[in-house]
């Protein structure tokens, strides 16, 4: 039994080091997109535009990194968008409450709270799926509705704005830069780097993929299946919290439409990145590229003039499918 685990582990390690088409695919698609974009409108590659696009990809990148764990372990999480809105709302309400006592420290306290809330939301999802034995699609569809309703309730359907005194102090976390690199981009890179170490270089990462590849085999190999999958959901929750921490300073508010449909963007980014929806494998950097590709396509739609505003969504759909086909057949 232990042999199987060892073999799986070796296979994973080999896959982690060897570059193959599945891993290169998303980056090729990204490169092609950049060239096409430049030909359509030279402004596309201006530093300003690229900075904007990569910065705004940060939310989908960070949440997508978490989703890569969940999906590679054979799960799925539809609740991430609503969870992001809920965490954002709770975080702002908390900061607004404590700002009168602790001043700007409220931001740090809010960040810690966000991580705790996110971890618990993920834990909830994980326990429902594993201990409760409910299909991830249904379980997280349920929690998606719950989180969305909670943020609507907390905001009375309106807006939860951050306290004025915190707005300017917190603003640089989205709009600031270190050596010209926007802070959300740094955060994304750090999260992705940490995640790739965890997924490719640790026992947990190998268990994660093993559970997703074949749950029965993993169980017989002595891998704690429930624990492994629950941890994946907790990682997802933490990633959602990190995204929320970067999101709050952007518009300084949470509304019932915050994070709407992010779950679809996240899952699309993960799949474009080469992680199969059935699990068993995870490509962290592919997910990063996938998220950037999605934002670049949307950006390109606006910068180009030849697509009617009514057809933008259709063209985006076609580009995504073509990108996937290129990957599929370039193997």
């Amino acid at each position: 039994m232990a042999d199987i685990a060892a073999t799986t582990a070796r296979a994973r390690r080999k896959q982690g080091t060897k570059l193959n088409w599945t891993e290169l695919g998303p980056f090729l698609a990204l490169a092609v997109l950049l060239v096409v974009g430049f030909l359509v409108n030279p402004d596309f590659l201006s530093v300003n535009n690229i900075t904007n696009v990569v910065t705004r990809s940060a939310f989908v990148i960070v949440i997508g990194v978490g989703a890569t764990f969940v999906i590679s372990s054979g799960g799925l999480d539809l609740s991430v968008g609503s969870m992001a809105a809920f965490v954002t709302g709770v975080m702002i309400l908390f900061m607004n409450t404590v700002v009168h006592d602790i001043g700007s420290n409220a931001i740090a306290a809010g960040m810690v709270l966000a991580l705790v809330v996110g971890a618990f939301c993920g834990l909830g999802n994980g326990l429902i799926v594993t201990v409760g034995g409910i299909e991830p699609f249904i379980a997280t569809l349920g929690t998606m509705g719950i989180f969305r309703a909670l943020i609507t309730y907390l905001s009375n359907g309106g807006t939860i704005p951050i306290d004025h005194s915190l707005r300017d102090v917190y603003r640089p976390v989205y709009f600031g830069a270190v050596l010209g690199v926007p802070i959300p981009v740094i955060v994304s890179l750090v999260v992705a780097a940490a995640a790739s170490v965890l997924l490719y270089r640790t026992k947990y990462g190998r268990s994660c993929a093993a559970v997703g590849a074949n749950e029965e085999v993993a169980r017989y190999s002595g891998i704690p299946v429930i624990k492994t999958r629950v941890i994946a959901y907790v990682i997802q929750g933490l990633c959602v919290a990190v995204a929320a921490i970067c999101y709050v300073p952007r518009l300084g508010a949470a509304t019932p439409t915050t994070g709407l449909l992010w779950e679809l963007q996240v899952i699309t980014a993960v799949v474009i990145g080469g992680t199969p929806l059935r699990g068993g494998k995870g490509h962290i950097w592919g997910t990063v590229a996938g998220a950037v590709i999605l934002e670049l396509i949307a950006n390109l739609m606006v910068l180009s003039d030849f697509v009617s505003e009514y057809l933008v969504a259709a063209v985006q759909g076609v580009i995504i499918i073509i990108a996937m086909l290129i990957q599929r057949f370039s193997k």
């Binding site: 905001s155 359907g157 807006t159 709009f175 518009l251 509304t255 439409t257 915050t258 606006v302």
Partner: protein
Amino acid sequence: MSKTKLIAATLVGSLLAAGAALAEDKKTIVVSIPAADHGWTAGVVYHANAAAKEVNAAFPNINVVVKTSPSAAAQVSALEDLSAKRKMDALVILPYSSEELTGPVKSIKEAGTFITVVDRGLNDSAIQDLYLAGDNIAVGKTTAKFLVDKLGGKGKVVVLRGIPTVIDDERIQGFKDGLAGSNIKILDIQYANWNRDDAFKLMQDYLAKYPQIDAVWANDDDMLLGVLEAVKQAKRTDIKFALGGNGMKQIIEKVMANDPMTPIETPYPPSMIKTAIYMTAAALNGQAPIRGTVKLGAPLITQANAKDYFFPNSPF
């Protein structure tokens, strides 16, 4: 059923009957509106509840009941439940969608209920006794006229529109009509789904694409907040005006403060539900004739009159 349960059931039953008998003496206005799922509908819920409280206090013989529904199907079910449970003297409804609600409202009308329709019309206008709505075309037109005036009849503007619906089409149509004849050019119009984040991203893209933009119009205030953040980030000085529409309190505050970039606002106020409830109460209580169509204007809100449109406690 055990004996105790039977007794309890009888008790509850008789209490309910007594309650119903008590309600018989009062005239009931049922208000059926969408649940608060974004800023504008949250405003509708707030103003409907406020109107219910005020009317109930002012007219002891009238009982206003507010019921919110999260979808068209839920609104149909709610109407069925409400009409089965009690005598409805009047129904004030902001329909989720025209198609699905026309039939159910018609059958309530046939039972002798006074029907007030707000904002979104039904497919058969013969059903309604009173129709009250804002003027979406004027929302676009009033804004356009202001820009023509302030930009001296020439300039370049970009537009953010909402979700493909009649409301959105009318606002855009009104805006184009208002610009007609001037030398103001619309550089671009794209959908941003009445969503603050989408508007932020779209405005960043507009700013990357066009080196010279004189004014921005987001046809909804939620989007305007995203636009303002993107403009602030880009530190662009060419943009003279960034305008919205609807009358969100954060934007009205800017108008009251005479903000240079957002000095005006055009209302499409969720408080119109209040007007409808008050008018319906006037018909039930004082037989004031109110049958017909009321179209609220979209007058320019400036610093001078902004406080009339400011509701600090409303979520919108």
